[in-house]
Symmetry: C2
Subunit: 457 residues, 2 copies
């Protein structure tokens, strides 16, 4: 048993690392090895393989609009299952282990089914199990709604003929607690939240890739694994289409200063550290490319160019929970203008349904849509303050023969909307232009060495 004072390490394993009994046993052996090195371990697991998608299909076979509360209970079973199996596999190796549901692990959330946010982590059960020498396996992606719970406790107690039970019925809490899920990739958030609350030394996110790359290595073989990336850069990468980690997990890590390592569960090699990077401003360099194909462009054609039009178009979309990105309003011609913007392809039909009556009311000519677009982004701390980056990005795209349909920027990111068929040439040209295949050069103090090629350095 590791000593009580041993460092706590939180490890998270994704669905592809747990897809079948063999892989589960492999994960168990990896956990056992880490424990033998003297760590106290808390392990967060996703559902096995495609379980979550299969459960969603099962619900879809029953009804087009599954109730979100019921769907959360259904989906949470995937992580219950994988957690018990990993625990059993550890027992088979002679390692003491116990699985906990999100509720048992003390993870309380708000009541927004399907996309709940963690409200608090009560670490006592996890700490007690760790102190007892056990590896704790926590079902990721889920929590218990405390707010819904409180409301229902009152409801439950109101029906009791014995008014004394209002005071003395802690069990009613259990009857009233509701299972919630944290949304796609929510297990990452579970892991980071636990690491923060337990004061863990490390939070390791095991996945089917080796770390964070300068671009998607499936599209660009020359893409290079990064050793370190800052929280903010990682956030922009995630937001711009790099699917490796859930964005909220990165935010949570940033706020709580949790060092996160993304690494492969299939090999024994260091991954990418996501952490506060003191040299990030000095480095002042593009760190990576992100891209996103789940994009559709909507254009409202010939809307009157007058105040309030943008609000009339975007307010109803926001109310319906449709996220809008890369907005471009053309120069006015003859008192009318075209308003273009992007939504995810999954939201396109819904957005169109909402906009048809709006466009009629505004007197717009028509609504056109384009599904053959994609977003490509360069990400790096400080690039907004160095205008040379944008120019070099546009030059690289022009060289690749890729037309830019719209541009959006943030502090540390520049995104271009392009035709989808230009995506791979664009990535290749940008990767070369920003010399992303070159390893970071670090001096003896760990500071990056400025290279001649670095713009603004």
């Amino acid at each position: 048993m590791p000593p009580m004072s041993a460092p706590i390490v939180v490890q998270k394993f994704g669905g592809s690392s747990l897809a079948d009994a063999d892989r589960i046993r492999r994960v168990a052996r990896r956990i056992a090895r880490e424990r033998a090195l003297g760590s106290q371990l808390v392990v967060v697991v996703s559902a096995m393989g495609d379980t979550t998608d299969e459960l969603i299909s099962l619900a879809a076979a029953i009804t087009d609009e599954p109730d979100s509360r019921e769907l959360d209970v259904l989906l949470a079973t995937g992580e219950h299952q994988s957690a018990t199996l990993v625990s059993m596999a550890l027992h088979a190796l002679g390692v003491p282990a116990i699985s906990l549901t999100g509720a048992q692990a003390g993870i309380t959330t708000d009541g927004r089914y399907g996309r709940a946010r963690i409200a608090n982590v009560d670490p006592r059960r996890v700490q007690a199990e760790v102190a007892a020498g056990r590896v704790v396996i926590v079902a990721g992606f889920q929590g218990m709604s405390a707010s819904a719970s409180d409301g229902l406790v009152a409801a439950v107690d109101d029906t009791s003929p014995d008014s004394a039970t209002r005071q003395a019925s802690p069990h009613a809490l259990i009857h009233a607690a509701e299972t919630t899920t944290l949304g796609r990739g929510g297990s990452d958030t579970t892991a980071v939240a636990l690491a923060a609350r337990l004061g863990a030394d490390r939070c390791q996110i095991f996945t089917d890739v080796r770390g964070i790359y300068t671009a998607d290595p499936r599209l660009l073989p020359e893409a290079r694994k990064l050793d370190v990336i800052g929280y903010e850069e990682m956030l922009e990468m995630a937001q711009s289409g790099a699917q490796v980690m859930q964005q909220r997990a990165v935010e949570l890590g940033w706020v709580n200063n949790v060092v996160i390592e993304v690494l492969s569960s299939f090999e024994d090699a260091p991954g990418t550290l996501i952490k506060e990077d003191p040299f990030v401003e000095q480095r002042n360099k593009v760190r990576g490319l992100a891209h996103d194909r789940n994009v559709a462009k909507i254009t409202v054609v010939d809307v009157p160019d007058r105040p309030g039009v943008a609000h009339a178009i975007f307010a109803p979309l926001a109310d319906a929970g449709v996220s809008v990105d890369v907005i471009v309003q053309n120069v006015s011609h003859g008192g009318t203008t075209d308003m273009s913007f992007t939504v995810t392809r999954t939201d396109l039909a819904k957005a169109r349904r909402i906009l048809e009556p709006v466009a009629r009311t505004l007197g717009a000519r028509e609504i056109t849509t384009d599904l053959s677009v994609a977003k490509v982004s360069i990400v790096g701390a400080g690039i907004q303050n160095a205008p040379g980056y944008a120019a070099r990005m546009f030059e690289a795209l022009a060289k690749a023969g890729v037309n830019i349909e719209a541009i959006a920027t943030s502090e540390i990111r520049i995104t271009c909307l392009i035709g989808e068929d230009g995506l791979e040439p664009a990535l290749r040209s940008l990767h070369a232009a920003f010399e992303l295949e070159q390893p970071d050069q670090i001096d003896a103090a760990g500071a990056p060495v400025a290279r001649a090629s670095s713009v603004g350095a």
Copy 2:
């Protein structure tokens, strides 16, 4: 919405009734019809189809000896899933519904994983949901261990630096509550326990057969469905191999006087009522035949015929949880005797392993086993007091050319151990001898009319 004062009906649907999306929708339509008739409904569900067996296989692929606590969490997910899907299917029909886990439904048990017994049902959440006009779908087969919970709350609180939380941490209860399962067929017990606690009018067990038969209709086409059977008779039928209902569910119904109806989920027809039968002593007749193929005979050959031998043989089996039935000790010859008894086939290897050293210590010659045996039983209240039944049973078996290897009796049952290949001829001959194909004749007051053929009437 049914009126508040409407009768509560508890319905339980087994796995084969919920095997796929189509069947789940069919079950939902049946629930909706019952609700339209004005009932308030609490529905208990098993896991879909073979889900439980599939989960057991998954665990078996990981380890030979799955931890019983982990296995319970794993298996309980099957009922969580089916409960949410039935609830969704009701929503799709416009029927307000909510699924509850065993814990949410207030079902607390002892801490014996895999075979927990219900300790209490706190009905408040279920009552509150029913009062709100919802059909309540309860995940069967599971509960929450209260005793384990209490122990762990203390453990959890001990780790808290703030001693005040010892008093004020009702949430710790949730973190410490453990999922338990009630054993095979446990959903029947969930349904009967809820019906008892809610004071339900009826408890309907929907299954893939039409009710309780005078014999297994798959073996004996002339077997007849019974309209009514007493609790005690039903218990003996269940114990003697009729697999329709879990024995503990019948016991619980008996103790709480819950009228249970066993009926088919695939057709609209009345089933068999299990209830206190005031005319049972008057009827004084064989009600049905049960049989069991999951039987193996063990003989300890040539054991010394002296006091303490039976204890030496059976005590270690009992300690290992091996149930023993139909015990026969031969007449002593030359100071030694043969001791024969039956165990389930699944327990045979284990029993043999336990008995080998015992037999050596006792100086027995050998242990022989026989897998080609079966039990056949006649069941009926009062038959023990009417010796004519035994004689007629032996006569019927002799006519069928079936040899009797051993005999065991209870108050209301006579069981013969026979060769397995004689099972079908034995059932056919007994069914005819006791005129089980004849419908019950009931007089105007509901009392059975004695027929000339009824022994002892």
